[in-house]
Symmetry: C2
Subunit: 225 residues, 2 copies
DNA sequence: GGAATAGTGTCTTTCAGACATTATTTC
DNA sequence: GAAATAATGTCTGAAAGACACTATTCC
């Protein structure tokens, strides 16, 4: 068997917050069974449509949702002769973050699965729960020294919502004092001047300064380890 | 054209220190020309020999040198329809670090090229100088918050030699005080009790505590940015 | 006023960095 | 003793974290 017959796919782990919980985009696999099985958005490179592997990844997301990821990065490329019974196979795994505005159109069969359910393992086919784990590990790590949290929030958000992202992803969060100091430094955020009102003191609404790219800080939070 | 005809290779950027300068492992391309051309250790996955892509990468290094990398990680997977005139092609790029003990047997045609030469661009064929740049970017970044420097040193080394690794890789280095404090904390290093002598006060020789895995610190050096 | 959440003040801790000082070797 | 490099002492600064305190809204 030569390498050219290898099966190469691009698999995307797209994260989104729904009801303060982290979810993953998945697609129902048609089957006659009762328990539905799910798979990540995945597919092959289309040499005609895709100029690069990133294009392939974007295309997989587009197939399932009208939303575009505000952030996407390659996590790893896996390849071995065990993942697929037909022989050697390869997967380029991406991690994508999708903002939390409303206005989403899901394709038929597409759904956001909560990452919290212990059943996620059984819900996902192939080795896809392992891919989710790897993307999640990356997210958990990178969230601690970058501006990634903002990509999971709506266009305008409060500092408390950043705190909420940490809670959803890590199950714990740094103190608000530290989040404030970090995210209000530099040109990272812009104060919209608007307020979010509730039955309490209103919170300032910020938006991302798209002038400045994904921000990398030079320290980790240590309270979240 | 279908994806199965894509050309997939595994390319390794292996770094090593020689005479206090950073070098990259390369292989001479046979050609009738005068100026020799070089390429990175690269090759295709062998479905029989390789259980995983990592195996393929290790095999490329073994072809050129008797030394095994003390550290290796995937950098990125590149794929597009521009790199190779024959159409879509894909490369999984690895970064490897090789210790600085002596005892090396190089295969015929293999050589360590200095990364400092401005001619490296012209010496390397295909898009390999771009791959070196990406691996080097990763190394420059990760060196600042991890124990990676020790993988470029011999089995026993002094703290000054760690300083030297920073100079070789970044062209600048954090103060010795900071290096000492960082690398002598925890179980990272073991004092061998031996000394390196010169025409001055001898320096303590340390070795890596292989009990502890690659160490990740929670701060960057900022003097080196 | 009370409940609730937003936001500030300030002190402590940790670690990088600056820089002076001391230590140990060879010559 | 001089030169050279190794190692320590100690102070400063930046940012995280703890925690008390104040602010602003709705009811």
């Amino acid at each position: 068997m030569s390498l050219n017959t290898a099966l190469i796919s691009v698999d995307v782990v797209a994260f989104r917050l729904l009801k303060d919980k982290l979810h993953v985009l998945a697609q129902k696999i048609q089957a006659g069974k009762n328990d539905p099985q799910w798979m990540l958005p995945a597919g092959k490179i289309d040499p005609v449509k895709d100029q690069s592997i990133d294009d392939t990844a974007y295309r997989q997301i587009e197939r399932l949702t009208s939303k575009k990821p505000g952030y996407m990065e390659q996590v790893v490329t896996l390849g071995d002769n065990r993942r697929d019974s037909r022989g050697w196979s390869m997967t380029v795994v991406y991690c994508a973050l999708i903002d939390n505005n409303d206005c989403e159109q899901l394709a038929p069969g597409a759904e956001w699965l909560t990452t919290e359910a212990k059943t996620l393992n059984e819900q996902l086919a192939y080795d896809h729960s392992r891919l989710v784990q790897q993307a999640l590990d990356r997210l958990k790590s990178k969230i601690q020294y970058s501006s990634l949290p903002v990509y999971l929030l709506p266009d305008a958000f409060t500092l408390s919502e950043i705190h909420g992202v940490f809670s959803a992803v890590l199950d714990k969060a740094p103190p608000m004092r530290s989040i404030r100091n970090r995210f209000l430094q530099g040109d990272l955020l812009i104060d919209t001047g608007k307020l979010r009102r509730g039955s309490n003191r209103p919170a300032a609404l910020y938006k991302v300064n798209h002038h400045s790219e994904t921000w990398l800080f030079d320290r980790l939070y240590s309270s979240t380890r």
